[in-house]
């Protein structure tokens, strides 16, 4: 019995170590491909890593670079947004996102004969992205409990100086709660929003129903931002400013 357990344990350890090696190897392979100016190959490797459940900001940064160097700026924007979502202070991801947007705007301007800009993310989403998720979550909890404890203590404390201190604490904690709460709301995508999305194909047609034969009501272009409201089979129901709501094929949208 002991022998059997030992074998099983060894197998488990071996498997986990093999898996870790495999992930690192994939990352290194992607890095080498990037260095050798094979961005498409690098992007493929990094997409595989993401498919294996890796949710690492460095992986997303490199994926964004690989996609941008393959001139798939919509995909690059999604990757950089994911990196920023995990690590808001990542300068490379931020610069990459700006550059990808600039490149798309230029491309659009060239195609349309005028100037074009790419709309930035909504204010709430931007604010939500300013804090890492654990900071927003535990900040909200901490501020809520600090405010609640201060208020609770106020119910029993009679000393005036202590009451003043507790009142100040409650106000400060309430302000922090508001800040973290709004950030969390931005991240948690309240209001029926499934996720913010970016168009990753040249064009994405908005249809009246989740059916490729349904009438088309609008067309999004690569890099345009939209709100994904719900999922309907191979389609997302989406909304954005100034456009009718409708259904867009999921393969045309990258969410973050």
């Amino acid at each position: 019995m002991t022998r059997l357990l030992t074998i099983l344990l060894a197998l488990l350890v071996g498997a986990s170590s093999a898996s870790a090696d495999s992930l690192d190897e994939r990352f290194d392979r992607a890095l080498r491909a990037l260095d050798a100016q094979h961005p498409a190959e690098a992007a493929r490797e990094l997409h595989r890593l993401v498919g294996l459940g890796i949710d690492d900001p460095d992986v997303y940064v490199n994926l964004g670079i690989a996609e941008a160097e393959s001139y798939r700026y919509g995909e690059a924007m999604v990757a950089f947004e994911r990196a920023l979502s995990l690590r808001p202070s990542d300068d490379v991801a931020r610069a990459g996102l700006d550059n990808a947007e600039t490149m798309l705007a230029r491309r659009r301007a060239d195609e349309s004969g005028g100037t074009a800009t790419v709309e930035g993310p909504r204010t709430l989403a931007s604010f939500g992205r300013a804090f890492p998720e654990p900071v927003a979550s535990f900040g909200t909890l901490g501020a809520a409990y600090a405010a609640a404890l201060a208020l609770a203590a106020l119910a029993f404390v009679r000393r005036e100086s202590l009451r003043l201190a507790l009142g100040t604490t409650a106000v400060v904690a309430a302000l922090l709660l508001g800040t973290f709460g709004v950030a969390l709301a931005g991240r948690a995508r309240y209001g029926g929003l499934l996720a913010p999305g970016i168009v990753v194909t040249d064009e994405a047609e908005v249809r009246t129903a989740p059916d490729a034969r349904a009438p088309r009501v609008a067309t999004f272009r690569e890099g345009e931002r939209l709100d994904v409201l719900s999922r309907h089979g191979a389609f997302y129901r989406v909304a954005t400013h100034g456009r009718p709501r409708g259904f867009v094929a999921r393969r045309a949208i990258g969410t973050y």
Binding site: L23, D24, F27, L31, L34, D35, A36, Q37, H38, P39, A40, E41, L49, G53, I54, D55, D56, D58, V59, V61, N62, G64, I65, A68, E69, S70, Y71, A76, L86, V92, G96, N99, A100, T102, M103, R106, R107, A109, D110, S112, G113, G114, E133, S137, F138, T140, L141, A144, Y145, A147, A148, L149, L151, A152, A153, A155, F156, L184, R187, A188
Partner: protein, 612 residues
């Protein structure tokens, strides 16, 4: 029945009155509307006898009431010349009588400053005002110009070989190039102008095709030059530069810059109330370029233009196996993205693939800038190494001479043990799907060299416990304050209960005093018991009342016997409180029994409302 008929008649009367009022209002409205369709177009000159060489004014005025605003078609003044225009459109709204819908009057006045170069009689054709399908014309204007002929003046776009435009009275596109016989790789500056005399939204429908050129846009979003005014064939136009491109021929031969097309939407803003869309479509002419080949012997990657090379090393000494950075910068004008420099092969040195950076500048619409190549140079053995001058072939189109530009030679020293050259074999880079030219001056990266390979985990706020944990905070505060209020409430209730006098409590006190053989306390409790019972029965406090008043109150209740007994008992209690004879336990017990009997009788009295 008679009353009912009157009511019905009254209602009919009022209905008829309302119908009459509506009909009248409709008639007045229709009349106003009929009048509103009138449009008057008048064209007048500031003088009946203008003189050649002297400017005079011609004014076209359109007055329109109601209807949609139209478009004034300017008359042709040729051979007279327009040297200036002024235009104004007033919209005025005024209320009709009887509170009808407001009527809008539109008054458009366009003034032309006209110059005649020669005397004669000239007839200006009518000015036409178009309102959808309707056209309203002014009278033609006959001008008798006196004086003597003067030399004509005024800028008209030249019809040179590098300029092409299809003149139109309202709007046209004109395309120019600064040269038509460039060398391959030499810049040709293409400019597309829009001449227009109408207002409206301009939409680029087709870009000029530039298939055989490498293109650099010279007008960024913030470099749109302001429009200028130009008089062309006697008409004054607003001139907009809508495209300016630096084109570099990629092959020799006859090349073509295709036609551009625009739409000008002149539909009035009032078209939202209905009406036709008015769209002007204009195309630019095709321009042909005859690109000349570079002289025979020009190597691939030859730059057409003027450049200088600068080379530098980041340091003069290095350990073997440690890389130095060799940077060569090509600076000047021309299409520098074509520049390519091959590093020398030097025994004992390994050159990594270069990092290339481009900066494109377009001062005075001349494309230039710099391209830098940075190699990581790794010495594989100790020694002093000299990197020879690195060269680049440059063709000067002005002198038509091919020359070689070189950088200076660089020397550095390597120390340490020899290392093995283990460079990986470089393979071919990916072919980009569709490389945009603008990608050159934007760089992504640097790539992360290491990743922690974090796994995807559910965010904290999405975990099941999070809402409950968050809800705990307000619950905590609510609980604390509830507890506080509950405690305060219980204490207050206890206080109230403790403060409220009760016969039972007084009797209990009396019994306690009896047991303790405390006559003073006993009789005080008995008196309090009786007063409490009296207070409850009479609805007012009896403590402090004189016994005669108390007697009267009880007598008023119709029980003289009770009145006498109560007063006697209270008197006796007062006396006994200060007398030792009252201290007998039996007597106290009897007093308590009597008091109980009296309380029972008092309680049976009808209750009075409590007085404050």
């Amino acid at each position: 029945m008679h009353e009912g008929s009157k009511i019905v008649a009254g209602r009919l009367h009022r209905f008829a009155l309302a119908v009459a009022t509506l009909v009248a209002a409709g008639t007045i409205g229709a009349s106003a509307s009929a009048q509103g369709d009138e449009v008057r177009v008048v064209m007048v000159a500031s003088t009946d006898s203008p003189v050649a060489g002297e400017e005079f004014q011609v004014q076209v005025e359109v007055r329109q009431t109601a209807g949609q605003p139209g478009l004034l078609q300017e008359p042709s003044f040729a051979p007279l010349r327009i040297t200036g225009t002024t235009g104004v459109r007033h919209m005025q709204s005024f209320q009709q009588v009887f509170g009808q819908a407001p009527v809008i009057e539109i008054r458009t006045v366009v003034g032309y400053t006209i110059l005649a170069d020669q005397p004669g009689v000239f007839t200006i054709p009518p000015a036409i005002y178009r309102m959808g399908r309707r056209s309203i014309s002014s009278e033609p204007l006959v001008l008798k110009v006196g004086g003597t002929a003067v030399a004509p003046s005024g800028a008209v776009p030249s019809a040179t070989a590098t300029t092409a435009g299809n003149f139109d009275n309202y709007a046209f596109l004109r395309a120019t190039v600064d040269r038509t016989d460039p060398y391959v790789g030499q810049q040709v500056t293409y400019t597309l102008y829009l001449y227009k005399r109408v207002d409206g939204h301009v939409d680029m429908q087709r870009q000029p095709s530039t298939d055989d050129f490498w293109v650099q846009d010279l007008l960024g979003p913030h470099r749109q030059p302001p429009p200028e005014l130009q008089v062309v064939q006697g008409q004054r136009f607003e001139v907009h530069v809508i495209r300016r491109l630096a084109l570099f021929p990629t092959r020799a031969g006859s090349l073509e810059i295709g036609s551009a097309a625009i739409d000008i939407d002149t539909t009035s803003g009032f078209a939202i109330f209905g009406g036709n869309r008015e769209l002007l479509t204009r195309e630019s002419p095709v321009i042909r370029i005859d690109a000349r080949p570079l002289p025979a012997g020009a190597p691939s990657g030859t730059i057409v233009g003027h450049v200088v090379l600068d080379a530098r090393l980041d340091r003069n000494s290095a350990q073997t196996g440690r890389a130095l950075a060799l940077t060569v910068v090509v600076r000047g004008d021309g299409l520098l993205r074509d520049a390519s420099i091959t590093p020398p092969i030097i025994d004992g040195l390994r050159f990594e693939a270069p990092a290339v950076q481009d900066r494109v500048d377009t001062p005075n619409d001349l494309v230039g800038g710099e391209r830098s190549f940075t190699w990581q140079v790794i010495p594989l053995r100790a020694g002093t190494f000299t990197i020879p001058p690195l060269g680049l072939s440059v063709f000067d189109p002005r002198t038509a001479r091919l020359e070689s530009m070189t950088s200076q030679a660089l020397t550095f020293t390597a120390t340490g043990a020899a290392v093995v050259d283990d460079a990986p074999v470089a393979d071919e880079p990916d072919e980009p799907e569709d490389e945009p030219a603008e990608a050159d001056n934007i760089r992504f990266g640097p790539a992360a060299r290491h990743a922690e390979m974090r796994r995807r985990v559910a965010p904290f706020h999405a975990r099941a416990w999070f809402p409950f944990a968050l809800l705990g905070a307000p619950l905590l505060a609510v609980l604390a304050w509830t507890l506080r209020f509950t405690r305060a409430g219980l204490a207050a209730m206890r206080e109230r209960l403790a403060a409220r006098p009760s016969p039972k409590r007084h009797r209990r006190d009396a019994k306690r005093a009896l047991s303790a053989s405390d006559p003073a306390a006993f009789y005080a409790a008995v008196a309090a018991l009786l007063h409490q019972a009296l207070g409850d029965a009479l609805g007012e406090r009896t403590i402090g009342m004189t016994h005669s008043t108390l007697r009267e109150l009880l007598q008023l209740r119709g029980d003289d016997d009770l009145a006498g007994r109560v007063v006697d008992e209270l008197d006796a209690a007062d006396f006994a409180r200060f007398s030792s004879s009252g201290a007998s336990t039996d007597e106290m017990q009897r007093t308590l029994d009597r008091a109980d009997a009296l309380v029972a009788r008092i309680s049976s009295l009808p209750r009075a409302e409590a007085k404050p």
